[in-house]
């Protein structure tokens, strides 16, 4: 390989964010844990700056490579990164009150999230198996620590440990798959792989792809690599759960899409079966297992498993419309989840957090606005028109029909009906049951703002869906341009 000039320009936003993380770390070290709020807001600020930079340096234009082809900046990556930044920023905003209240006010927390975000952005921009792995690990390592941030509580440390051990296993699988792919094709570059993997792929490549997919499926918590999710979601501090459920999910799904579409798009008909299987398993498990849950964070864990199943329908379709469906799905999913977790974070009784679904009983009488918002989110997650969640499902189902995956679409619809049960049960609890013990007030300004904005988005998405639909279409198109 000839040495080439180092092109860094397309990666400027990531570089900026990485530097920002170090700067924030410095600030934190010098000021101490008192600086939590400052560092947090600075982190949010740097996310904003990063978003602006993303727009300025890559925009919706074409496709630019950096780091000698290891890194790619295209509209697909841009779309994903914007929502990742959004998710991370909100996660930080949501966590500040919580950390202070629970005596966990450590300045490392926002710094770690910023680092994780850099990892996520690297993931969606990965253009080779190496950069894929590096991005993934950067994200994961930061998140392992975040999950165990309350190291004085057993549940948090247990969650962090479980996540770490299983994450290491999945990383191993991913690396093993990558090595097999490299061994059978002789390349790690996505563009080269795309040329070499065509027609009937050899068994080695297939096994490699399966291992790679298993590693990625772990990150999106799809069946059967989902087992960590409920435990980690329940054990980790709630703001961390909120983060887990949003930004990393988008990053992992986006990476999944890119890996399957770019280097292995040529044999889409062959890996399609795998994704279909994973998707069906996730949808069914997400719908069924959530029914018996009493802890709302566990419930959200299964809910997110189910949602990943739906999103993967779009990937299984293996088409541009499918990918567009995935992007729309994830965008709406992030907003809904952010709002829901904001409400979960407001579930406090006499100053301590409560997590049982039954604690929501009679919420409509004590906190009518919150009940309305949660109702919107639950209806939306159940996919009831005209809320945003309905459209997200609509687009992936359309893609599945287009790709003639009728079985998948039918199972998806049926499982969404089953899943509607537990969403509606929450609504029933809030409106038809009597409150036992009321939740604390007030809920805090940031929380209120997050709930209001995401609720309005979910409620009014149908009024003007064009910006997101068009952006997603452009992003999806860029994945198929090359």
């Amino acid at each position: 390989m000839e040495p080439t000039t180092l092109v860094l320009l397309p990666a400027i936003p990531e570089i900026f964010l990485a530097c920002a993380a170090m700067a924030l770390l410095m600030i934190g070290v010098f000021i101490g844990d008192k600086s939590l709020r400052l560092v947090s807001w600075l982190a949010v600020g740097s996310f904003v700056v990063t978003a602006v930079l993303l727009y300025a340096f890559t925009g919706w234009g074409g496709r630019e490579l950096a780091f000698d082809g290891l890194f790619v900046a295209d509209p697909f990556a841009l779309f994903a990164k914007l929502f990742i930044l959004l998710g991370s920023a909100v996660a930080i905003i949501l966590s500040m009150d919580y950390l202070e209240r629970e005596n966990t006010a450590r300045f490392e927390y926002p710094v770690l999230i910023v680092l994780a975000t850099v990892g996520m952005m690297m993931m969606v921009s990965a253009n080779s198996l190496i950069s894929l792995y590096v991005g993934l690990e950067l994200q994961s390592l930061a998140l392992y620590v975040v999950a165990a941030i309350r190291r004085d509580t057993i549940r948090s440390t247990e969650a962090g440990l479980k996540y770490f051990v299983l994450g290491a296993l999945s990383s191993g699988m991913l690396l093993y798959g990558s090595s097999m792919i490299y061994g059978f094709t002789g390349s790690i570059d996505f563009a080269v792989l795309a040329e070499r993997v065509q027609g009937e792929a050899s068994v080695g490549v297939i096994v490699g792809i399966v291992f790679l997919a298993a590693g990625l499926a772990f990150k999106v918590s799809a069946v059967p690599f989902h087992m960590w999710t409920p435990d980690v979601y329940e054990g980790a501090p709630t703001p961390v759960t909120a983060l887990f459920a949003t930004a990393p999910k988008f990053a992992a799904i986006a990476l999944f899409c890119r890996v399957m579409m770019e280097p292995f798009g040529g044999i889409a008909d062959q890996w399609q079966q795998i994704v279909v299987l994973i998707s069906i398993g996730s949808m069914i498990l997400g719908a069924l297992a959530a029914i018996n849950q009493t802890n709302i964070k566990r419930l959200m864990a299964y809910s997110s498993i189910g949602h990943m199943g739906y999103a993967l329908i779009g990937l299984a379709a293996g088409s541009e419309i499918g990918v567009r469906g995935v992007l729309i799905y994830m965008a709406i999913y992030i907003v809904m989840n952010v709002g829901t977790f904001a409400i979960i974070l407001c579930m406090r009784q006499q100053g301590r957090m409560v997590e049982n679904i039954s604690d929501l009983a009679g919420l409509s009488k004590t906190h009518p606005m919150m009940a309305v918002a949660l109702t919107i989110f639950m209806f939306s997650m159940a996919g009831i028109p005209p809320l945003a969640g309905f459209f997200s499902k609509l687009y992936v189902f359309l893609a599945a029909i287009e790709a003639q995956l009728y079985t998948l679409a039918v199972i998806g619809v049926v499982s969404s009906v089953v899943g509607a049960f537990y969403y509606l049960r929450i609504v029933k609890l809030m409106y038809f049951d009597e409150p036992v013990e009321t939740l604390d007030r007030p809920i805090g300004r940031e929380m209120g703002a997050v709930i209001a904005v995401s609720g309005l988005f979910t409620l009014l998405f149908f009024v003007w869906p064009a910006p997101i639909l068009n952006a997603a279409a452009q992003a999806a198109a860029s994945l198929f341009a090359g």
């Binding site: 479980k162 051990v165 299983l166 296993l169 999945s170 699988m173 068994v203 297939i206 096994v207 399966v210 291992f211 997919a213 298993a214 499926a217 772990f218 069946v223 059967p224 690599f225 087992m227 960590w228 409920p230 435990d231 062959q270 890996w271 079966q273 795998i274 299987l277 994973i278 498990l285 069924l288 297992a289 959530a290 029914i291 018996n292 849950q293 089953v418 049960f421």
Partner: protein, 643 residues
């Protein structure tokens, strides 16, 4: 003008029905009554123009259905037959509207009542002005609906609801026949318009049709099916059970719907279709038979009933039987004549009974009345007039029409005609008997009501008695005035083309030449019936009970209405209930719910619990699941590729 007659009541119904709460009770009453009276005046004008002026015509409103050979319009066909019906319907309806203002004055839902009455009138007018079977069916079903609503008007009463449902269901049986008849007409003639049907009917004689796997005479079959419809609406024997129960409705409803108009729709329908029935002599024989049986059956039952309205209801049933056997012997004009006179005197009787009930503080049992004739002399007199007309006492309306029917039956010369004649004579005796039984028990003798009720006995207000007087005038003069035109020498000119009687079957003409004893017999038996009633109830009170005791089985048989209701209960109601219960408990409950909603929900919960068990919390379980997952996926991948 015709459109005004038909649609003004609809307008009244809409105003009173939808805006009754806004405009108030009084306004609703005024609007519906005023529109109804205007409609009545227009009807009289139409009658003068069409029937007396000999100017029948059809007004096309607009096309309704145009599909293949089916071409149906909304049209108002007004010939003499329709004009007579218009008069009957609008006059009685107007009187009932006005009467209701007084009768229903204490009811909380006055606008609703008035709206229903007007709605009924609209449908009835639609029925009689139809120029095709479909539009007639529209009116037919509409009056059924209005009847249902009005029988169940006091929906707080379970008996009223049951009666309403019963009326609706029994009518469905008839309507089913009617519908099959319409389908049969379309099958045979490719049309449902009367004019084309009547033109084509003679050619259909002798054609066969496959019905229930049998080759039957086409025209007879169709006519019989249509007659089944008429039987349901007109409460003929076997399909009569709903009519007595329908007395649960307010009394004005009984007078309007269940005496004067709706129940005569069957008679009207068969008369309207006379150009078809004339070519189906077997069908006419069946009509005669059922008419005669109904006449005698209802009269026998009417003898022993104790509810004042039920007595009159059975009387109605019986009189409808007369009309049908008149039709059966091709004396259509006599049937319509009786229809008209009957409308007046039966409405009079019902409204009179309403007046009595009103006076007696809602008591309907004649065993608990008596001795009130001095207290309500006007009602008493009017009831006398109605009864005289009903019993066929000379020179009252019923005398003319009933006599011509009986004479026609005799003059037809056929066996079935004579059968009808003798049953009719017997029924005439019974009619006179039960009418005077009713009068005597209600008004004479010692008061059997308690003194609270007796103190309250009072004559009804003018708004109720004036309609009664109008109807009484009809009951006195309608027969005398109409005789010449309806069944006398002027009949050919009067009816024009609206009724067809085949050459050589003009029984009306023959009826004028029957032996004298035939003419006198109805009067004699009528007088005998009255005399018997006086003897049994007035001169020797207690005789009736003695007879009832001695002939107990017969008495019970009659009191229980020939056990028809019990028979139906055994034959139809129980099996159907059993089947319904079976399908509900076993079919729906066990099979559909069991495997469907409940089963699925149960399975879902079960699976849900099982899956929760998988979540053990142990790391090595999780790691194991991941490894298994990879193995499964690889296997699946490889095998699916090989396949």
């Amino acid at each position: 003008m015709f459109a005004g007659i038909v649609f003004l009541p609809l307008l009244g119904a809409i105003v009173a029905g939808f805006f009754g709460r806004i405009i108030g009770d009084r306004a609703a009453q005024i609007v519906t009554c005023a529109l109804m009276l205007v409609s009545m005046l227009l009807s009289i004008l139409a009658f003068v123009d069409v029937a007396l002026g000999g100017n029948p015509r059809t007004v096309e409103l607009f096309t309704w259905i145009q599909s293949g050979a089916l071409d149906v319009s909304w049209a108002l066909k007004v010939d003499t037959l329709t004009a007579v019906m218009l008069i009957v319907v609008t006059v009685v309806s107007s009187m009932v509207h006005v009467y209701s203002v007084g009768y229903m004055s204490h009811d909380p839902a006055i606008p609703r009542f008035m709206a229903y009455l007007s709605l009924f009138t609209f449908f009835m007018l639609m029925l009689v002005t139809a120029d095709n079977l479909i539009q007639m069916f529209f009116g037919w079903e509409g009056v059924g609906l209005a009847s249902y609503l009005l029988i169940g008007f006091w929906f707080q009463k379970p008996t009223a609801n049951a009666a309403a449902i019963k009326a609706f269901l029994v009518n469905r049986v008839g309507d089913f026949g009617f519908m099959l008849g319409i389908f049969g007409c379309f099958l045979l003639f490719d049309t449902v318009n009367f004019d084309q049907l009547f033109q084509a009917a003679p050619e259909a004689v002798g054609q066969k049709i496959n019905f229930l796997g049998m080759q039957l005479d086409a025209l007879t079959t169709v006519c019989l099916l249509l007659f089944v419809g008429a039987m349901g609406k007109s409460a003929q024997f076997l399909l009569h059970t709903w009519l007595p129960d329908a007395m649960e409705g307010p009394t004005p409803v009984s007078a309007l719907i269940h005496a004067a108009t709706m129940v005569t729709a069957g008679v009207f329908m068969v008369a309207r279709l006379s150009p078809m029935f004339e070519y189906a002599p077997q069908a006419l024989m069946v009509v005669t038979f059922f008419g005669a049986i109904t006449a005698i059956f209802a009269a026998t039952v009417g003898m022993v009933q104790n509810d004042i309205k039920r007595v009159i209801a059975y009387s109605t049933c019986s009189q409808l039987g007369y009309m049908f056997f008149a039709i059966g012997v091709s004396a259509y004009s006599a049937a319509i004549f009786h229809l008209m006179t009957h409308a007046f005197f039966k409405a009079l009787l019902f409204l009179g009974a309403g007046s009595v009930i009103h006076a007696m503080s809602d008591e309907q049992d004649i065993r608990k009345m008596g001795g009130i004739w001095k207290l309500i002399p006007l009602t008493y007199g009017l009831m006398w007039i109605g009864s005289l007309a009903l019993a066929g006492v000379p020179f009252f309306a019923g005398f003319y029409s009933k006599d011509i029917i009986l004479e026609s039956a005799f003059a037809s010369g056929s066996q079935i005609g004579h059968f009808a004649f003798w049953l009719g004579i017997l029924a005439a005796f019974l009619t006179a008997f039960y009418s005077w039984r009713l009068l005597i028990l209600t008004f004479h003798g010692k008061p059997r009501a308690d003194h609270h009720v007796m103190e309250h006995v009072h004559e009804s207000p003018k708004v109720m008695t004036i309609p009664l007087i109008v109807l009484a005038l009809g009951a006195i003069f309608a027969g005398f005035v109409g005789y010449e035109a309806f069944v006398g020498d002027g009949r050919a000119e009067f009816w024009g083309a609206s009724i067809l009687v085949l050459e050589g079957k003009d029984v009306i003409e023959a009826a004028h030449h029957v032996p004298l004893w035939v003419k006198l017999l109805p009067i004699v038996v009528g007088a005998a019936g009255i005399a018997t009633a006086y003897f049994v109830y007035m001169l020797r009170p207690g005789t009736a009970d003695a007879i009832a005791e001695q002939w107990r089985p017969v008495y019970l048989f009659l009191l229980n209405k020939w056990y028809i209701d019990e028979l139906y209960d055994f034959l139809f109601v129980r099996p159907v209930r059993w089947l319904g219960r079976f399908l509900w408990k076993e079919g729906d409950g066990r099979v559909i719910d069991g495997f469907g909603p409940d089963g699925v929900a149960f399975t879902t919960r079960l699976i849900s619990q099982r899956t929760a068990l998988l979540q053990s919390g142990y790391l090595y379980h999780y790691a194991f699941a991941m490894m298994v997952g990879v193995v499964v996926l690889v296997t699946w991948y490889v095998f699916s590729r090989m396949a």
